[in-house]
Amino acid sequence: MLDQLPAIIIAVPLIAAAVCALIRNETVCWLIALVVAFASFVGSATMLGQVQKYGEDISYKLGGWAPPVGIEYKVDLLAGYVLVLVSLIATAVLIYGRQSVKLEIKKNLHGWYYTMYLLCMCGLLGIVITGDAFNAFVFMEISSLSMYTLIALGKDRRAVAAAYQYLIMGTIGATMYIIGVGLLFTITGTLNMADLAMRLVPLLDTPAAISGMAFIIVGLSLKIALFPLHLWLPNAYAFAPSAVTSFLAATATKVSIYLLMRYLYTVFGFGFSIERTPIPEVIMVLSLLAIFAGSFTALFQENIKRMLAYSSVAQIGYITLGIALANATGLTGSLVHIFNHAVMKGALFMLVGGIAMQVGTVRLSDMAGAGKAMPLTMFGFVLGGFSMIGVPGTVGFVSKWYLAMGALENGWWWIVALLMLSSLLVLVYMGRVIEVAFFRERPVDAIPLKEAPKSMIVTAWVFLLACVYLGFDTSFTVGVAEQAVNVLLGGVQ
C-alpha cells in the first residue's frame, strides 16, 4: 500500500472527480472532495517523512514499466515539500470555501465545482510528482483546463472573460513548454527528466538544446506569471470565486515555479543554465521589475482582490529573484517564500472572500467602517499585511532575510536596498485598506455589516497563526528548504 502511494495520490483524486461528476449533490461532493484532499495531504506528508527519514528518493514505475521508457513518479525532498503545500492548501480551501461557494456559484453547478476542484488538485499534484517531461505537460493541462472552468464559474460576467484570457495565455505557455520538450526529445530520444539531464550533458551547446530551453523557460514563465507575462493573472484572480482565488493564488503559480526550478537546476544543470547562460541576469531584471511594477500597480487598485493579485505578481518576483541569486541562501529564500507566500496570500484571499460575502463587493470604498463591524477579519488583514511587509516575527521576514543574505553573498548591496524599498510599497497598499476599514466611518445608509461565517474566519486565522508560528519556528520550512536546495544544487554532479 505504502509503495503504491505515489500512484494513489494521483489516481484517487482523478477517480473521485469522476464520481463527483456523476453524483453532483453538493453535500456529498464536498465530503468526497474533503476526504480525498485530506487523504492526499496525509499521503504527501507520509512520503515527505519517508524521504526525510531514509534520505532516499521515492521512485515509482507507473504500470511497472521501467524508466526511461516508462513514466516514473519521483518524490524527492523538493517534490515532497511542494506536494505537502498543495494538498494542505487544497484541504484548507475546501473547509474554508463551502459557504462562499454556495453563495458565489449557481446552485446547479456546485457538484461540478468540486469535480473541477479535484481535477485541478490532481493536475497540480501530478506536475510535481512526475519525473517525465511529457507527463508534466499532460498534468499541466489537466490542472489548467479545470482551473479555467473554476474561474469561469464566477457569477460576474467578467469572470468568463478573464477565464478566456487565461485560457489563451495559459495554452500558449503550455504549448511553448511542450515545443521545448519536443526539441529536447528530438535530440536525446528520452522524456524522463533524470535521463534527459544525463543525455543532455554533451549536447547542451547545440542550437536544439538551447532553443528547447528557451521555449521551456518562456512557456513556464507564462504559467508562473513572471513579469511581463503576468497579464492574465490580475483578472483571473480578481473575478474568480473567492475560494478559487485562494486556491489558485496559493498553488498554481507555485507549482510552475517548482517545474522551472527542476528544469534550470536538474535537467539543464546549474553548471549550464546558471553559469553559462544569461538566464539568471534576465530573471533577476524581470523579478525586480515584477516586484516594483506589481507593487506600484497594486497601489492604485480600487478592487482589493485585484490589488492582492498585483501584489502576487510582485511576490512571484521575490521567489524568482531567489532563483536568480543562484546561491544556496537565495534559493532557500525562494523555496521558503513559495510556502510562506502560499500561506499568507491564501489567508488574505480567504479574508477577502469573507469581505465579499458580507459587504457584497470587494471595492475599497465600500469597506469603510469594516474594522468595527468585522474585527476578526480586519485584524486578520492587518496581521497578513505585516507578513507581506516582512515584519519580523512573521513568515514574510524569514523569506526576505534569506533573500537579502543571498544578495549580500553575491555582493549585491543594491538588491537589499531595493528589497527594503519594495517592502515600503507593500506597507502603503496594505495600509490603504486598513485605513479605510478602521478610520472611515460607515455611511449611515449602507447595509450593516457582520462578521463572516465561522468556517471562513477560522480557516483564515489558522493560516494567519501559521504565518506567525512559522515566522518563529522555521524548522519545517527552512529545514526542508535547505535540504531541498542541496538536492537541487547537488543534483548537478
Binding site: R157, I168, N235
Partner: protein, 124 residues
C-alpha cells in the same frame, strides 16, 4: 556545391520549416485577431505545430510500425505517435472549453469581439 548545401538545408528540414510556419501563423492569428473564435483557431494551429514537431522526426523512410517479425527490420519510433495522441486530446479539450467560454461570453456581452468585451468593461 555551396548552393546545393543550402538546398539540402532547406529541404532536409522541411518538416521543421512547416513547424515554424505553423507556430508563427498560429501566434500571429492569436495576436492580431479580435474575434474570439478566430483566436481559438489560431491557438489550434499553434498547437498543431507541436504534433508535427513530434511525429515527423520519428518517421524513418521505409520504416514500419514496430512489429516483431523477420520481414521488417526498420521501425519508426512509436512513442511520438502515442504522445501526440495525448496532445491531440488535450488540444481538443482546450478548444472545446475555449468555445464554451466564447458562447458564455456571447451570452453575457452580446459580442465575441475582444475590443467590445474588454474595452467596454470596468476592470477595477
Amino acid at each position: 556545391m555551396e548552393g546545393l548545401n543550402e538546398l539540402a538545408f532547406v529541404l532536409g528540414g522541411v518538416n521543421h520549416w512547416i513547424t515554424v510556419f505553423l507556430i508563427m501563423a498560429g501566434l500571429y492569428i492569436i495576436v492580431s485577431r479580435s474575434n474570439m473564435i478566430k483566436k481559438l483557431v489560431g491557438l489550434s494551429i499553434f498547437q498543431t505545430s507541436v504534433y508535427l514537431l513530434y511525429v515527423s522526426p520519428g518517421k524513418i523512410i521505409g520504416g514500419t510500425a514496430p512489429i516483431i517479425s523477420d520481414d521488417f527490420t526498420v521501425y519508426s519510433n512509436p512513442l511520438p505517435h502515442v504522445l501526440i495522441l495525448t496532445a491531440i486530446v488535450v488540444g481538443v479539450a482546450t478548444l472545446a472549453l475555449g468555445l464554451a467560454l466564447v458562447i458564455r461570453i456571447n451570452e453575457a456581452y452580446g459580442s465575441i469581439e475582444e475590443d467590445d468585451v474588454y474595452s467596454g468593461e470596468d476592470w477595477n
